[in-house]
Symmetry: C2
Subunit: 296 residues, 2 copies
């Protein structure tokens, strides 16, 4: 039999995954999941690809917002522009901690930056970014920094009749540009923070607000339910903002970034999620010990 | 070769559909559509099942709103409660014509009626309705009034690697209850008017607003784009509120209700769409002439 998880080292994480597949797909077993309920949802940044020193989408957004602030100096004194131009990490920590004022500032800036743009215009901007910008640490475009074991896990889930979704706090439409080529996931299975759209004169254009708020923390199950009509049966994440999504799932896995040599070792913004994993018995995946290979 | 459209009579509609499939799936042909772009979107009421004398979901909603107005007499003087209790069709015509005040009144009532309900509570209410209520005209539950030729068309689209979505002005979560059993469509492929949701204390509950407005008229391409990240390549509808969705598609079909004997003959709220079909060369499907069988 082919090992669907060939890049995963033998150990507790791999065993728990294969046990889960056995139970989920064996009618009559304790953990059997009816095929329609087989929805799997994954965070993106830090779960599917490298998020250090800065999540790719934030880098993309900060470049755009920095550009906007240079064109309109009145913005430079307001957050998030002020924080971006001044590299003030306390503001981004406040976003990560979901402080309402910081969230509102970033929501407004996100929506305003691409107001009135067509999807084609936005896509062209993302595509240009993805080909031109390379990771400082690895020297390759970010799409080459997708974790191979996670792509194998996607394929294993599909082989067991799961539908795989990505649900990220980052921009949904940013991820959709790369979803099919980088993950082999159709665009409609990408969930995330997204603007309203307006259809007029035969064209779709970005509106000035976010639709349903940020897909972070409680926003993740909210967005997943809105898109799929279900809570996920399987969920994977790596950070505190994934806790609510993970606690909804029958099987939850938390990726731990402990591989200084092949990736980056850090625990920041994941302290609470590691505690929650221990408390709820979620599967902890150590990048160092559980993955034979990190990148394709 | 198996005829995937066996319930369709030989004639222009069937020919145009089979020609479309040939072109869409032949690499190098003029109308070739790349597999990722093969998104098909269908209206529900009047396109997939009987919508006369009243769309099923409106009947469901009106019963619920009528019940709410009986419990709270202060509502009885306001639209839409007033119109429902008094059977004032002019209000519903105003909704159909997308008059802002009527739309707002119905949006508010829709959101308020199920505020705070869990998905399970709402689903149980729909499931009860679907088993207990029968069509006056046909004497069977509405789920038996799905058009067989449309289910064949879904299967034919899937056989040609299309992903089939339903996009209705009616309630998304109402349709999701029947999507898998009645249409063989996963819940996540159902798009429609829907409330916000709030995740708190491990539970999802309905919020008090609509997310992205009604999926009618321009709201259809807006909701389809939000869900799929694309404009549909194929679209099917039957009414004026479908025009914007149909005009986005490479292939559009408009179902004409002209079969008094087997269904209901009417042109109301479809006058502009028939004109648009003639103007744009959309495929007109006559229920009377193009369908050998109407129901399964």
């Amino acid at each position: 039999m082919t090992d669907l998880l060939a890049s995963w080292a033998e150990g507790p994480a791999k065993s728990e995954l294969t046990d889960f597949f056995d139970r989920a797909t064996t009618p009559g077993s304790d953990g059997f999941i009816e095929p329609p309920d087989r929805v799997a949802a994954f965070d993106n940044d830090g779960t599917l690809w490298v998020e250090q020193p800065l999540p790719v989408q934030l880098d993309f957004i900060f470049r755009a917002l920095g550009g906007a602030a240079q064109q309109d100096p009145t913005l430079a004194s307001q957050d998030p522009y002020r924080a971006i131009l001044g590299r003030d990490t306390s503001f981004f920590a406040a976003v990560g901690a979901q402080e309402p004022e910081a969230i509102r500032a970033i929501e407004e800036a996100l929506a305003r930056t691409w107001l009135g743009k067509t999807p084609e215009e936005f896509e062209a901007q993302v595509a240009e970014y993805m080909t031109q910008v390379k990771s400082d640490r690895f020297g390759v475009p970010y799409t080459e920094l997708v974790y191979k074991p996670m792509l194998e896990l996607f394929a294993a889930l599909r082989a067991h009749e799961f539908r795989v979704f990505v649900c990220s706090g980052g921009g949904r439409d940013f991820m959709r540009v790369i979803a099919e080529s980088a993950w082999d996931i159709p665009r409609e299975n990408v969930i995330g923070t997204a603007p309203t759209y307006t259809y007029e004169n035969g064209e779709i254009r970005r509106g000035g607000e976010l639709l349903g708020g940020l897909a972070l923390g409680p926003g993740k199950p909210e967005h997943i339910f809105a898109t799929t009509g279900r809570m996920p049966a399987f969920a994977g994440g790596n950070a505190d903002v994934d806790i609510e999504m993970l606690e909804c799932a029958a099987f939850a896995m938390l990726l731990v970034h402990d591989d200084e040599e092949r990736e980056v070792a850090y625990t920041k913004a994941a302290e609470r999620s590691v505690e929650a994993a221990q408390q709820h018995g979620w599967t902890l995946v150590s990048m160092k010990n559980d993955w034979r290979t990190v990148f394709s």
